[in-house]
């Protein structure tokens, strides 16, 4: 029986990719059948391949128009219309405030529209850069289960949302995005708990409806600390979150 060392890595990868001729493929298959180590390597390569293939979000792309990038034309046209309709001068602080309010309204609406359907498997989080690459954070110590993620767009920016659910009605959204505008936290519904912070170029917003204030504060601090440090919640923090959950009333939906 030929051992693993006689199969070059390139050959194993080509086998997984279906690039070997039938005779070569049959040889590899015979070796794998008699060598668990080779078989395990092939299985791992297949899993890596499948995981990479599924790393891209599913997206329906349609051709529209026949000229230069349709999106750029639309953006340019929208910019011209906005200039003509909005007046010649926009005060910078006014612009920021409006944008912040728009972000607040958007995030709030997204949170209310709880798209993580009952019974479905939690969708994976597409690769992100920066501190957010720790997502999804493990919040089970706070009795919050990760139920899914989605990527949406707002004002040309990609917004990642991770959703968590508790056992007593709590729903928590953690948003990650990169924006020049700061969401205006005063524009959120008073029943929503809101926390915003930024780490480097990324903005984070944590939203929860009806959660006890102290519990939400502790949760927000713990999440922010984890993302800033690059490490999961430490034991002490997990204990604190668990205690806070035990001593807090259920979330009011």
């Amino acid at each position: 029986m030929k051992d693993q060392s006689e199969i070059r890595p390139e050959t194993l990868n080509a086998y997984v990719d279906g690039e070997l001729d039938p005779a070569q493929a049959a040889r590899v298959a015979r070796i794998a059948a008699g060598n668990p180590s080779v078989a395990a390597q092939i299985a791992t390569l297949r899993e890596l391949k499948a995981a990479v293939a599924s790393a891209v979000p599913d997206r329906e792309i349609k051709l529209s128009g026949g000229g230069p990038s349709f999106r750029r034309i639309m953006y340019a046209a929208a910019a011209v219309v906005a200039f003509l309709v909005g007046g010649a001068v926009l005060h910078l602080s006014t612009f920021r405030e409006d944008s912040g309010a728009r972000w607040a309204r958007f995030l709030q609406a997204q949170h209310a529209d709880w798209t993580f359907s009952h019974g479905s498997r939690a969708a994976p989080i597409a690769p992100v850069f920066g501190p957010a690459n720790l997502l999804p954070l493990d919040l089970r110590s706070a009795r919050l289960t990760f139920v899914g993620s989605e990527t949406v767009r707002h004002e040309g920016r990609a917004v990642l949302r991770a959703g968590y659910e508790g056992t007593r009605g709590c729903r928590v959204s953690l948003y990650v995005f990169d924006s020049d505008a700061v969401p205006d936290t005063t524009k959120f519904d008073p029943s929503l708990r809101v926390r915003w912070w930024e780490i480097g170029e990324q903005d984070f917003v944590l939203l929860a409806r009806g959660m006890a204030e102290a519990r939400f504060d502790g949760l927000a601090k713990a999440i922010e600390k984890a993302l800033r440090s690059g490490y999961e919640l430490d034991r002490r923090t997990r204990q604190q979150l668990a205690h806070s959950r035990r001593t807090s009333p259920p979330c009011r939906a």
Partner: protein
């Protein structure tokens, strides 16, 4: 009629083109733009390969060249890293029989790979190109495609291991939602 046939032929590849662009840019908006720009160029071309495999490679080459042109004008966020020294170490990858390959971890690790590794994986695993088509796309011999994909997957595997260690997070497997009301 002729133009409609061209569009129809092209539309069959839009999703794969998007996947390839997204793998390289991780930007959905930019990826859409790249696909649209690629489509415009492809539809405007005077000569189009008849052979389907050649046509496929040609489309991806247009997209790749478009991205390269954009990158030259505006340097990317992740700088291309010379991996020749690193690659030399990968020949002795220890493939653990028990290392869990978690899809989410792989995606995280994939996003952290150097550009050249991401690119070959994007071509083969995301865009679904054959080795021959990838060789055409990158203008390299097929043997080079084979060695590159092997090194890229080895690098990816090592990153997966590092992700487990560095973040100290066991990125738990996906699980179903529990029934509410408890």
């Amino acid at each position: 009629m002729f133009r409609a046939a061209r569009r129809h032929r092209l539309e069959a590849y839009l999703k794969r083109l998007y996947g390839y662009a997204y793998s390289l840019t991780n930007d959905p908006v930019r990826s859409e733009d790249l696909v649209h720009d690629t489509a415009v160029k492809a539809l405007a071309a005077r000569r189009v390969p008849r052979d389907e495999a050649a046509y496929r490679a040609w489309l991806f080459k247009i997209l790749r060249n478009t991205l390269t042109d954009q990158t030259r004008r505006a340097p990317p966020r992740d700088t291309h890293v010379d991996t020749s020294a690193i690659d030399g170490e990968l020949g002795s990858t220890h493939w653990s029989e028990t290392q869990e390959v978690n899809a989410v971890t792989v995606r995280l690790a994939f996003s952290e790979l150097p550009g050249n590794h991401r690119e070959i994986l994007a071509a083969i695993d995301v865009a679904g190109l054959t080795y021959a088509e990838a060789a055409e796309l990158f203008d390299i011999p097929m043997g080079t495609v084979m060695s590159r994909i092997s090194r890229a997957r080895s690098a990816l595997y090592k990153r997966v291991e590092e992700t487990h260690t560095r973040t100290n997070i066991r990125v738990f497997p996906l699980r179903k939602r529990r029934a509410t009301g408890r």
